[in-house]
Symmetry: C2
Subunit: 459 residues, 2 copies
Amino acid sequence: MALIPPRTLKGFRDLLPAQALRRARIVRTVEDCFRRHGYAPIDTPVLEYAEILKGKGGGDTDKELFEFTDKGGRAVALRFDLTVPLARFVAEHQGELAFPFRRYHVGLAFRGERPQRGRAREFLQCDADLIGAEGPEADAEVLALMAGVYAALAAALDTGPVTLRVNDRRVLTGLLEALGHPGAPGPVLRALDKRDKQGPEAVRDELAAAGLDPARAADLLAAAEPAPTPTATLARLGAAVGQSAVGRAGLENLARILELLAAAEVPPDRVALDPGIARGLDYYTGMVVEARLERLPEIGSVGSGGRYDDLAALYTRTRLPGVGCSIGVTRLMDALEALESTAGAPAPRAGTADALVAHAGPAASPRAFRFAARLRAEGFAVEVYPEPRKHAQQMRYADRLGIAFVFTPDADGSFHGKRLADGATRTVVDAADAAAWMRDTAALGAARAPAAPGSEATP
Amino acid sequence: MALIPPRTLKGFRDLLPAQALRRARIVRTVEDCFRRHGYAPIDTPVLEYAEILKGKGGGDTDKELFEFTDKGGRAVALRFDLTVPLARFVAEHQGELAFPFRRYHVGLAFRGERPQRGRAREFLQCDADLIGAEGPEADAEVLALMAGVYAALAAALDTGPVTLRVNDRRVLTGLLEALGHPGAPGPVLRALDKRDKQGPEAVRDELAAAGLDPARAADLLAAAEPAPTPTATLARLGAAVGQSAVGRAGLENLARILELLAAAEVPPDRVALDPGIARGLDYYTGMVVEARLERLPEIGSVGSGGRYDDLAALYTRTRLPGVGCSIGVTRLMDALEALESTAGAPAPRAGTADALVAHAGPAASPRAFRFAARLRAEGFAVEVYPEPRKHAQQMRYADRLGIAFVFTPDADGSFHGKRLADGATRTVVDAADAAAWMRDTAALGAARAPAAPGSEATP
């Protein structure tokens, strides 16, 4: 029989155990933080009526949609983000929800764009949004949440620091008003948003195309450059927006947000005012934010968000202002891999077990099963080698998966223990004895020691 | 502007926060148990080349496939389970994996079947498989894993006991050999598998259609009835399979599995031998299992599994025997909802916060933010009401989300605390003071006390 070639679609990828373990750890850390801030999960289908999704994302999302007709003749599509489904969800279930509504959502989204690093066609989104609240407290809440998430990720996964680069769309509108720019702000915002990716030349060209003459473009770019401190940036922007009411409202909002973040003890160097942050998406109306990984800023933003004032307007006449953020899990994974390969760091573990109980012949298997069960009850992750194989092969297996301890049933009823990191051996009489040794090792911080029981579950 | 009706596709559904919180808790409990047994996660795309998926599931899976042509002209489809993608994954990555390979996978699958209770068109699968190992130890390992999962779910979610009903396909083959049945065993196995769902009449009709005369059908059904104890069942089956070598191999395997499960201290009443369990899927070759929720057996199996001896043969010439299980998360959710509605139990919580800090005017907001941040650092989930609203409205909000404590900034710098369960009040000077009160409440086991810090993350 001819074999079917085992392969995945272009732009889609498998996660091997080490990668999936890391992603699960990132997601769990993010989710725990979302919950600690009062956000609860929801879920929505990955497949929606096409009319729900089309014409919503701006830019290329329609072109990139995976759409088809299902066997019932319905025009359907895979969602391209979690924000449009949130709008549909809130409109559909508003009577069942308590407002202000804090929800988070971890789910897949799909875009048929050209695959490149960090731009898979299937990707995992981790979003949190606060719906039905306006004002600086709501904006600051989401930024404090983001700061909490990145602090937890730095602690759990050694990502290093992440800076939130914050702006308010209204400040940019105010700058354009003060400059006497007659056109719509949209093209200018999109031009500014490309500053980091495409450099000042490209931005100047785009600003010219958006109708800004060279002198005004230069003024705008000068005003949009951050000053050394947030206070200095606010002062400079205050002068630049002049009497523009919308510009002044944006600046007041930013000043108040900074005050609230300081009160919440978010470290000041983790928050920067950056008047050049515009965010390409059309639906943002107030605060906007991008998260920069300081160890690898060129990877692009590892999270973003902002305020949108009426996202659900397509589906309901109830006005539902919101503010939210998205944590870039795939981007963070890519960044960690890039940093590790630069540093020549060892590959992350592909296994979960703290201990392997070796197979020492069928007669010993019942004892091996009991020992493993009791060691699990002590809080450790344990596997039993399932088949009679040479002991050396079983040891190589343990080594390859980074399992810290191997216990082999002895003829006298005890177990011969080996710690793989340093080759130390010990005879243990039962699982409690083995657990004590493993805990001692963990307490000593020995290389490849098992995690303390339960520690995996908390960031 | 005309509104787009906010709606989901037939057979697809949203999860509201209370439902999503419960599902997340089930999944986390299952995942933690999988890891405690040495299983590591993988991930694969929900979209695959159609040729990978078609003709693999047996029965109706081809008809029920969501398939389409993507914008690059490729024939693609949404996966209908996680087992076929596992086979493709193992064939594609075998050089990068350590065998025996233990993997778990939590992911969405899609089937366009007629929607009914527990049969959504999009559903979450939680599978664990051990690839590259044969013999009773491997079979017993997966059963011990399942028993561990259901014990953890009973403890974390009050599902009540689940019984594993175990059989070996070879025993049924042996029974047919002993009866002198000339045909293929497949149709007989599928007939037997309908015993619980469609009753003995339907099974007798199907057995007749499969070529079994009434006397033989009656003998088979009598032999397939479980005896009062596993030992008695094994003895009766031993007599019934007679000299059939394949039948005796199946019985030896079952006897050895029972011995290993007893050694692993799986409670004996959580495992039953049931020679009528056949599992409809064609790819099982040895041990098969179905999990029955004792409080609501009529909901159908809440998990299943078995041994398949060469699943990846379509994609690789390497022989890869395996054994695995699938935990029925959606079925368990349905069962819990049905049991609660019968018992008139209160709806589960839709919120995650232990405490709400009330909005007491803009001047108090910085203090509220600091208090909330410090209470989170003490391990509690805390939200700040984001807008100036009447105090009564804020209290109703807390009540609706099941938030146990509300703290309101006082003019003198302290906070007025209220415990909603009993209306108790206390003035606290800071977050540490509030945390002490909340911990005391939790220790007293008061109604609606907040979870102890970190407790949510462990089953």
